[in-house]
Subunit: 331 residues, 2 copies
Amino acid sequence: MPSEFDLIRRYFSPPAPANTLGVGDDCALFAPPAGMQLATSTDMLVEGRHFFADVAPHTLGHKALAVNVSDLAAMGAQPSGCLLGLALPAARAQHTEWLAAFARGFLGFAERYGCPLLGGDTTRSDTGLTISVTVFGAVQPGQALRRDAARAGDDVWVSGHLGAAAAAPGLLQGRWQEDETHDTLPAVRPALETPEPPLALGVALRGIAHAAIDISDGLLQDLGHILAASGCGAVLNEAALPIAPALAPVLAHWPQQRRRAVVLGGGDVYQLCFTATPDARAQIEAAARATGTPVTRIGRTTAEPGLTVLDANGQPLADLPSGFDHFRMRV
Amino acid sequence: MPSEFDLIRRYFSPPAPANTLGVGDDCALFAPPAGMQLATSTDMLVEGRHFFADVAPHTLGHKALAVNVSDLAAMGAQPSGCLLGLALPAARAQHTEWLAAFARGFLGFAERYGCPLLGGDTTRSDTGLTISVTVFGAVQPGQALRRDAARAGDDVWVSGHLGAAAAAPGLLQGRWQEDETHDTLPAVRPALETPEPPLALGVALRGIAHAAIDISDGLLQDLGHILAASGCGAVLNEAALPIAPALAPVLAHWPQQRRRAVVLGGGDVYQLCFTATPDARAQIEAAARATGTPVTRIGRTTAEPGLTVLDANGQPLADLPSGFDHFRMRV
């Protein structure tokens, strides 16, 4: 069996960027850009909970870093680098094709998003595979997009589209029906397996947006965090929600409860929900065009607490689906 | 069952330091000291591999952060903060006394070492408990104690004492015999369960020592990393090795092979092995006195590669015990 040090050397030792000490010492060393604040976040991915054991290793490597870079996007922080922790069952450690493909997915994403792997830890697990990623980014003091910065009367926006990632597992497992063309699953699967967080948009929204959060646990739950932290409420318009285009045809045939669970409660989206003053609409649309990321206004924040979703007739939905909590069950 | 957010709020939300955004947003934000490099490291602790399932939660919280701060000590970096990832089986998440004691151990260590908890991730595990900690520290550019900085003719030093942590599991499980007084285990157990890394010494050695590493995998293996990175060799004197005083009496009665495995190959030490020019001896001894950390000269580096240990008669040991590799077995 390869040793811990062999594994790191063979798969996880990319060349270090300039002025950086990368993989191979007690710590990595890097120079934060002068005068910037450092943003940092860590996320764990646990086999059987965040990914299926048979997921393609390339997509798993991609996703492990993507969900973390999504947190940088939600702060408007430019990536500086990342650390990777792997608790590997022996079978995985011996499976060199699996490791090589995982590393390719991870390092490919790191390269494209300018988030170099600086260090990490590889250890043995006697149970399942656990992946832990930590990311660092830089943001000017006072410019980070915090959760507590929404103000009553803000527009509520989302980037990208909703529903695809939450619909994919049901379609994959055959629990939920495709339409006759069977082209929905291939179209929505990348949203689940290889999300591309809107990093450029997040960075472009600094100084424009008020509050932002990435939609990992579902729109309602994640917007709820903004509202709780900012001490305000919101009213959303269901008809305005940007459904993933590939999902829309099949969604129309699903029961209403599932439709709403997927769109309003579905997690794993890794797009941004953000608020901004209505005066900033033109700037936000310009930022969206400049970064090639669609944005949609879906409602307004209110001075009164509480989160209301109005249906197409302007009637409040009675039972809002809850989002994903790792200590509860999925909807 | 408490939600993920309840757990974080209840146990893992200490007040954030000044100029810092702590637990509760997509990222934590902190300002690195002006002009400093940032040192960062991550370590995972896996149930059944790095700790026993029945370990006292207070000591587990302590150790999870201690092994990471040890990496900062080995770079000479002053802690800035840390992130904590927890993949928790449901039984642990419901066991509030367990969680409260774990948090007390972790946050108590964080407070004493000036390494505040800034953020993290709590998720559910369907198998065992996995803990992932990331630490940050600051060090002046060019002053970090790197592995590749040893030069031929350096003294080789270790801080603290050797052997206690590696002897503790054998004594705990009754595989290895105590002496009649039965006072060895209580004396060596803290080295295994609640190590106190020599952070102040590491910081004091900046600009004095050449290379440094923390002894997590065993003296020989960790010194071997310095030698490989620095392109030199070393000769150590077995008689000079600083055995943990509480262990010395019982060690004398053990078979020679086990004695050497524990002292030369035993991991989990979390003390420093470092090298420095002989001209720096007085400065090193002054740093040791100032920080209350014993240091011992145990040999010299050589231009020729290879690691030799001489016994009390000046004869090279034939079979050197290997250190700990997470993908191999313990000695």
